[in-house]
Subunit: 267 residues, 3 copies
């Protein structure tokens, strides 16, 4: 790469198509047919099928690690072919293309979009649009054209706000914080909606008790290796959120805990 060439544009893909799906490859083919120089990165394709909430969390936690001006396509789209909208959103320094079904609402909760456009201008889509795969026929070609410099304003009419998912709220009262498990990662760690900021006033000692359903542990640690193997423990994870883990084991599988389980920090 010559030092004076601009770097290639980056497009990421997040879907619920499953690892190795040929539908992902079809989207990549469409993108490369329009811009063969773009760098395509898989963000995740193992969002559980039609699970918009998990898709929204995956996007909110991961997209921010990419360079400015990255274009993110997200397809978790149970309403494909219905009258749900497809939108472009500018959030922070990134571009997002997704069905308007809440999939971008985790991101929008962190930072409100500075621009939202309803993608309804077929000029930039594939010529023949199916009713069941808008990721390939609409979102992929639109993203590829953005990567070539198309202005988002050309994609359709501006709109005011995105559809929002109802996000579980964290309750903060004196000596107690109540939240829930919002994600289980591939190690079985239980990631909660309680953030480092919320834990600011919590004492750093054993008087803190963390419970998740009927499971209880004392103290909030810095990392797994502060506790012995097989110990149920709480720490602030790499996502900046309170996480519950069993050291060297799969907490979700061993405890039977899933997304939505209540978590309480008290002292």
């Amino acid at each position: 790469m010559a030092k004076d060439s601009p770097p290639p544009a980056i497009i990421t893909l997040t879907t619920d198509f499953g690892a190795g799906s040929r539908y992902v490859a079809a989207m990549k083919g469409v993108i490369l047919s329009i811009n063969p120089c773009v760098q395509i990165v898989d963000l995740s394709h193992v969002v559980p099928h039609q699970d918009i909430r998990t898709g929204a969390i995956v996007l909110a936690e991961t997209a921010r690690w990419f360079p400015q001006e990255t274009i993110h396509i997200a397809v978790v789209d149970p309403g494909v072919g219905s009258n749900r909208r497809i939108v472009y959103a500018r959030i922070g320094s990134h571009h997002y293309i997704a069905p308007d079904n809440g999939l971008l609402s985790g991101l929008a909760m962190i930072e409100p979009p500075s621009k939202i456009v309803c993608i309804n201008e077929p000029e930039f889509w594939l010529g023949d649009v199916s009713r069941t795969f808008h990721g390939r026929d609409i979102m992929a070609p639109v993203a590829a054209r953005l990567s070539l410099g198309l202005s988002p304003d050309k994609l359709g009419k501006p709109i005011d706000r995105l559809i929002e998912l109802p996000w579980p709220e964290v309750q903060q009262v004196p000596n107690r914080i109540e939240g829930e498990v919002i994600e289980v990662d591939s190690f079985g760690n239980l990631i909660t909606n309680i953030t480092r900021d919320m834990l600011h006033g919590v004492p750093k000692s054993d008087v803190v008790v963390v419970t998740c359903e009927e499971h209880e542990t004392q103290g909030i640690f810095a990392t797994y290796s502060d506790q012995p193997p097989m110990t149920f423990m709480a720490h602030v994870g790499s996502t900046g959120r309170l996480e519950l883990a069993i050291v060297d084991e799969n907490a979700s599988a061993m405890l039977g805990v899933r997304v939505g389980a209540p978590v309480r920090v008290s002292w």
Copy 2:
């Protein structure tokens, strides 16, 4: 990327090695050792082990979405090390490299190859060829050299025709079409060998009955959201084929239907 540079060549990989297989990475390493500027794209690595028929369908449905001149390597190769041939085929505007075991016959059924070459010229292979991994030792280096401009004619002797799989035929009689399920996608949707063209004369109403094994539904719809959740329904999918689905659910798992199940459209 400077505007006046030619775009990087694209090589896709389709295998039955499984998601995350280190054998896929070895092929990528070999390709990049010969042409470090090529863009490699995973088409799919979750073709069921040694299932040539499914591999042929995945290729036929997906390769066409890629740009002209894309080089596709396909490795579903139960006969590796036997006297089965490895072939190069020019089909449409794409290049294919695969064992000659039927893996390209889904593509060849859509459009006959304009050139077929038996890859038997070891000059373009790795120096030390194993008996069990020709994807890495023969196909990857040949593809990389094609991406650098090597003429396919140099790869070996021209041959007349590819090995063909016997494909299930669709029966079309007055008021009835009989086909079968040829693929189950990652959502559990049942994809048939009945194409949109075959459905041309079918009335657009409830008098149409679609059955798959003992399961029956009326009408052929445009998309999932035309029917309520949990409904067994038929529609023409994004592949241009008749598909059977249960809205928001996994039809294959819920109904126990697999590839080969008979499908009938009658009216």
Copy 3:
């Protein structure tokens, strides 16, 4: 790509994060934020969780297929956040970044590192380093900076040797070789620690008996298709190691054989 541009640097990723993990994508985002022109390749993300030994084998078998100067990041890191070191190692013509927990010891057994550096210079890390995800916060930015030309000597203090795993030794006595299964591949083939070189003096005939636990086969063949389907057979595989397979089937699943099972060749 202009013919006179240098090719893009290559960074590979090997982790135990699981296929499709968003943690892998976060690492890619960090790398591309520092060097948007690098080519990132997934080596494997399906190393079993916290299984350093398997990770070490995957690296040792696969990294060598990549071009000279490739930078390999490996993250199988149960001790993250403890006082285990993170190291840079120059082995052969490649660069490696990994926790110093034995993960590089398969490679180092083949060829001793020509340089080892303890990565302890935070100048080249992310500004805010978590206690539980050094792959993203330390290893990814360090690799990206190496790909831009940073000298490995700047990363920290040189050290003398890497942590080594105890590797099972192969016993070679007259008329008998005793080793074990060290890897099961995605086809269920049983890959042993007995190499082609060790088999040099073994007669090429049926008098050779190969046993694995209570399972026995005669002869060592060149490839699967030398034996009929469903046959338990031994051959020297594409890794240059003695492998045991059931033709067209999954030997590990059918025989219940796992990593560590004893293998004996006698004649």
